[in-house]
Symmetry: C2
Amino acid sequence: MAWDDGASAISAAVTVPDPTPELLQRAAAVRRAALELGRLDGERRRLAVRAMAAALEDGAESILAANRQDLEAAVAEQLAPALLARLKLDGSKLAAAIEGVRQVAELPDPVGQRQLHTELDQGLELERISVPLGVVGVIFEARPDAVIQIASLAVRSGNGAILKGGREATASCLAIHGALRQGLAAAGLAPEVLELLTSRQESLGLLKLDGLVDLIIPRGSNELVRFIQDHTRIPVLGHADGLCHLYVDREVDVAQAVRIAVDSKTHYPAACNAIETLLVHREAVATFLPTAIAALEAAGVELRGDDEARGAGVRLAATEADWGTEYGDLTLAVKVVGSLGEATEHIARYGSRHTDAICTSDGDRAERFLAGVDSAGVYHNCSTRFADGFRYGFGAEVGISTQTLPPRGPVGLEGLVTYRYRLRGEGQIAGDYGPGQRSYTHRSLPL
Amino acid sequence: MAWDDGASAISAAVTVPDPTPELLQRAAAVRRAALELGRLDGERRRLAVRAMAAALEDGAESILAANRQDLEAAVAEQLAPALLARLKLDGSKLAAAIEGVRQVAELPDPVGQRQLHTELDQGLELERISVPLGVVGVIFEARPDAVIQIASLAVRSGNGAILKGGREATASCLAIHGALRQGLAAAGLAPEVLELLTSRQESLGLLKLDGLVDLIIPRGSNELVRFIQDHTRIPVLGHADGLCHLYVDREVDVAQAVRIAVDSKTHYPAACNAIETLLVHREAVATFLPTAIAALEAAGVELRGDDEARGAGVRLAATEADWGTEYGDLTLAVKVVGSLGEATEHIARYGSRHTDAICTSDGDRAERFLAGVDSAGVYHNCSTRFADGFRYGFGAEVGISTQTLPPRGPVGLEGLVTYRYRLRGEGQIAGDYGPGQRSYTHRSLPL
């Protein structure tokens, strides 16, 4: 449970204990309830999410009171100001979270979609149907409003959820969990579909609930995500790193490229889709870099460059370590490259395959970049900050994945469903098919 | 490398060494070549696979000679007959494998499909395009023909592959690998896209090539798969278990259910989609079980039943361990249940979420089973043996996955591709959007 005590205490030496029989029992109850939930039609699940929103409204007073209690304890324990800010839940933040729940209720149902429909032979029909994953385990640091968001996404998509908030948010999480369960009950659903873990032992045990939990979603620091990835065999939806690049090519609209660089770095520097390194084509150095340096420094950015970039005005020297560092603040590394290929090689070597962008007025070179960079998002002439489920139009974001396998990039509700093959026959057996016997028709049927 | 010396030697205590610099270099070369391959159009990749088939034909003599050499060594080492059978590659088996390569060449290109196309705002267009995974690592036991199949699937879908065959198939794999590379070169492609590992140290190192290898595909025993799953952070496509059930409901066409039971058990008992347990509704015991027992015993099946099944004629007693055993041979556990719910609970408890079937003449109860069993395949009135990529009409099978997350069940070429988001703008930045500013249009565009 080291990660519950703050990132600095995380250690790879932590031994993850087996889940207790009590935890196994609770997880099995979530799974049973989730299976029931997944069988309901989408409209019932929509009404349940609306009821959850209403229950949060009804319980707002006591949720805010519980949050004040957490905050007082956190202040007494001298938690970092950034952590206090994430922990704090005032009336308007809660109202926004509840509005988010209502929006999730209105999202199209991701369950029950027929993705494939094939006649294998006369009277033997195969279909592939989207179904809920089952149970998701969600581990948060601070941010009690995130509990609200992910719980609503889970229920909308027919999943159970086992939630574990940070220790510092215990009272807030308990109050929120209580309200969400009241909402489920009011809608006639089993409240067991949402479970909350509060003890350290339990939340480590969660990592070993293979077979009962289908996906772990960590919401917190890179260290939290990496710890979880290293200590569970359950698939993890998330990303430990967000090392994004902006490459400014040799022919470029300077004013536009400068705006994009400033936005990509400063719009929200702590976000994973902010850039950490600016690559500049040697032929663009003279025209682009002085203007860019002035604009970035005016926005409070500290620049660290290689020798050529320093020759063009970057004050500090970058070391090898800078190319692999996700600063997460107003620091930006700057490197001059001789070609588009050198830029894409740098990205392949140091990047985290999250989101990388090119600014160029040459369409062919843009396409070469888009085809040659193997990241979840590859952009031309726009800010890397667009890498986000809401901005992509998914209505909600379950997480952002930098894995190669799908789901990749910003993941909406589709990250909480899988599929199942259903085959309906009239007594067909495999032994009937083969040379000189029956053969498969493999005829596409309407979806 | 314990698993290379046979299942019995597998030990969880094996320490996986870090890859050597030489292996890292070779893997990086595969990755570079794969990126080039992935950028080619589908027709070029189709021609390459055809050239691989032609090169295998040209090299048939030397491949068969190499295989005889492996076989002689295997006989001298007194390898098990089953292993010898899998290792052996005669002219007709090789011809069938080459025919398989030609079929893979003609499969539709899984790369470059536009899966999503959205206008985020005027002049800011998002698309999601299928792209190759990158590099797959494939670990085989014996079966040199499987090397041929997976290499052709990898190249067809624009991926590089690092192949590791069993030690006993080294000469065969070297000959096949040589021919495949000749085919690639003849088609004007970089042969580096296919790499073969032969040493023990290398193939353990493969498990630690995170960032260079995107997916590991094990082809072999349950022990091999489990060992790999436990010793790599790279995603693994495969299944350690195949514990499938057939449930015979209370109202059933007895003759049909008996045929399905016999086929599901005996058509290929070693396959993962063969059944291991037969569940029988109490009301069907008298009509179904005596006929089923006679037919199964006539087909050479040893039955192990609970008390009620034994009362109806099953000879041997099943123990608790039987419900969780994947026999892989002509043994079948039989259990009598009191309800459909009891059957689905048994499956949830002991099954591996691979494929489970119901025989019933009651359509409503069939639908309850199909909705209530959380396996990759849920079948009504047909054999579990249909769970197979070829039978599903995918044209080829990369593997079968019992994970919950997609890809699930039999996986065709789509298991070797992922997607990438491309966003093309005209200078848009995230700071332009928000309350009182621009808003997103999120308009669907034609695919």
